[in-house]
Amino acid sequence: MTVRLGLAWLGGAALLVGTTFLLDDYTADLFRKMLLTVTLALSFNFLFGIAGQLAFSHVAFYGIGAYTIVILAYHFGWPLPLAFLGALAIGFVLALTVAVPSLRLEGFFLALASLAFAQIFTVVMVQGGEVTGAADGISGYASPTVLGIRFAGQNYLFAVIGLFLATLAILLAIDRTYFGRACRAIRDNPDPAAAMGINVARTKIIVFVLSSMLATIAGMFYAYADNYVNPFVFDLDYMFLLFFMVVVGGSGRHEGAVIGAVVLFALPELLGNVIGNRHMFFYGLFVVLAILFWPDGLAGIIDRFRAALRTKAANPAPIARPALVPTARVPTPPHADAPLVTVRGLSKRFGGIVAVDGIDFELYAGEILGIIGPNGAGKTTTFNLIAGVFPSAAGSVRLRDTEILGLSPHDVAAHGIIRTYQHNRLFAGLTVLDNVLIGAHTRFSGSRIGSGRLARLEVEMRREAFDILSLVQLADQAEADVRRLSFGQGRLLEIARALIGRPSVIMFDEPAAGLAPAELERLGEIIRWISGHGIAVLLIEHDMNFLLPLAHRAIVLNFGRKIADGTPATVCADPMVIDAYLGATVQAQGGTA
């Protein structure tokens, strides 16, 4: 943490603390409620805006924290620190109970199930009789005293400020790590995220538990705001309000959550006389408008405003680096003449249809192998089988001595086989550089190092990512929004993303499709560079003009079987291959290369 950053935090804290002295009692109460809401919005934004999980259980965990600590401390008389831990433990267990089954649910199914959970919480609290105080809730308990300090009034306010800053700090710290990046990748495009080595299930569980725990802790603080908890504070109305705050403020960004929460919290107070109690109507309207016209929310609008005001500062030209020299040795196979990848008897059926029927081939390190064949021949299925897309298949795919077939996509990536996609699948919410860094996920997660070393690894990887971007001539776009890239640039970005993982094998799915001639030339150069460094290249391709001068070898598939295997020139002259593509008549006419 740099000195500047440290000073910024201290300054912010001082500002917040200082403000409290200027407030009268009523406003002070509002201020701490607002800070609690902002804290909650931050953690919900982490779950929904950053990790893309639409779950309506967040406020329920807020309530779980509040109720549990009060019940443990007040009803059961536990000392406060113990009650705190107890509430934490219960929050953790419940979060896990919700998170694990939720893995099976996508999109609105997750929203429905989490909504049901939130309602169950309310029902249980209302029906809880003596223990929960039923509909009236629990009140009249004393403010806690820890180490002689009584957390009421001013002290309580300082504690809430501390909570807010701590939550913000935790979330910002996560953002700077590969884990934070992985969350956004899952939100933007879960399949390529898995294909780059991210364990999507585990990440989702961690995010869910972490955000719910942050809500639980905030709830524990809330319990002592008025020394009163009742079930209706934690109902779906508050949940939807929180959701509105995040969307209107700008989902996915911490400043968005803060701005949204502050604005939507303060508006009724400021304009109370004008719009009365029906501010929620306008909030609903704001949400609709935001989703339709300003998906980046208020934070996005402020950004654009600031960008318009700012004069274009000349971006220092990035140092033009010559052809890339990787900073470490590229892995070489143990025996240069033993195949890197051996495929035997690969087969896959879909219902009654046999897509791939007993395919055998080898792939050597540093070799460029093309897979060609007419429509429906099984090329894409073969590709996907190796990439781990299908859990069940027959046959064997070995990478050196390890069986790869049947592994999930992120495991396949962890073993060093990386794929690209025919229609670019990039992470729209990340910058170009961050997209590349997702490709390095396995290099982060595979290493077992402490947080200090992690920060240094992050810096190293950023530099390497920048180098790779220079190789594909995208270095000047490093901080750009990926949506600005042309199709050809997006293609190159996918390649950069694949390269940084230091794979042994890169699989390309029709990389030439849609590229202009100049881009095709660059693509060919890059693929040659890749194979020259000992990486095996497997590519599906239709564009023969592109493939023939590039590939060392090609295999031809038809009706799920391999019908030819040899150099591209041989294969294209093979009568069986010509027949597969063109039909028997042409063969008789002797149309050959």
Partner: protein, 293 residues
């Protein structure tokens, strides 16, 4: 025996309402793939517009009915046209319409409170307040009305989707949108009609509910929860699923209330727990949709 009959009537009356809301969700979801959270509030809207039409304006029921159902259909139409369609046509992320409809849900809720206030409003039954006797069954007239209307709506919906070419066209959009476009189904119109129909059916459900339990500004969310729980339980693929889910849910609710040794406040837990159970274990519901593998 009397007990049993009472139970059946009670199940029919509550289950009918749940089934109608479930049908509203189904009709919107199938062709568009969009889950419309606002339907619960639109049911509430139907109830309150009904009160405005019948109690305040003293319109005869036959005149009021098309007005009420038309108003909620109109809300559905407007929502689709200005909220859902622009998002779908500009390739917004698939969850965006669902999120935007959450905003519409809140706007509808606040609209109801603004125009109708927060006190429960009494809505008279069209058939009069006195209980009716049909054969051996004696029940409030509204119960019979609910059961009758539900049966009629479901019969009509089944016939429409299974036997008429326009209903098949709707279904075709759900089965294969691309091919449906190829044979000339107007995809835009289908989405708009789906939302309008969902609004109409939801409004009808709310209207039928209000003489039973009065119209309350809070009635939207519980109705939505029960409606989509019923749909998930019964099967999201077909009309019969909505009906089965609604009736089953009402039956289980009443059995729990009657025989389970827990306080009645927990009754709302029945749809909630069933919803979670089915989502996790059998998301396609009890009746599978008729797709061929």
């Amino acid at each position: 025996m009397r007990d049993f009959v009472e139970l059946m009537v009670s199940v029919g009356e509550a289950g009918g309402i749940y089934a109608l809301v479930a049908l509203a969700f189904l009709v919107t979801l199938r062709p568009t793939g969009v889950f419309n959270f606002a339907l619960g509030e639109w049911a509430g809207l139907g109830a309150f517009v009904g009160i405005a039409a019948v109690v305040w304006l003293r319109l005869p029921y036959l005149v009021a009915l098309p007005l009420i159902v038309g108003s909620t259909a109109l809300v559905g139409w407007v929502s689709e046209r200005f909220t859902v369609r622009p998002l779908i046509e500009h390739d917004a992320p698939p969850l965006s319409p669902v999120l935007a409809l959450l905003g519409v849900m809140t706007m509808t809720h606040e609209g109801i409170v603004f125009f109708f206030g927060t006190s429960n409003q009494f809505a008279p039954s069209p058939l009069g307040a006195a209980p009716l006797q049909l054969g051996p069954i004696v029940a409030p007239s509204q119960s019979f009305l609910v059961i009758g209307v539900t049966a009629a709506v479901f019969a009509g919906a089944w016939y429409f989707f299974e036997r008429t070419v326009w209903g098949r066209a709707f279904e075709a959009v759900a089965v294969d949108r691309f091919a449906a476009g190829l044979v000339g189904v107007n995809l835009r119109l289908t989405s708009t009609l789906a939302f309008a129909a969902g609004g109409a059916i939801a409004g009808l459900a709310g209207l039928l509910q209000s003489p039973l339990t009065s119209a309350s500004y809070l009635m939207g969310l519980p109705l939505a929860v029960k409606g989509f729980s019923a749909l998930v339980i019964g099967g999201m693929g077909r009309v019969e699923g909505a009906l089965l889910g609604g009736l089953l849910l009402a039956l289980l609710e009443r059995l729990v209330l009657r025989y389970a040794p827990i306080p009645s406040g927990y009754a709302i837990g029945v749809p909630l727990l069933l919803l979670i159970l089915f989502l996790l274990v059998r998301p396609t519901g009890l009746l599978p949709s008729k797709t061929i593998r």
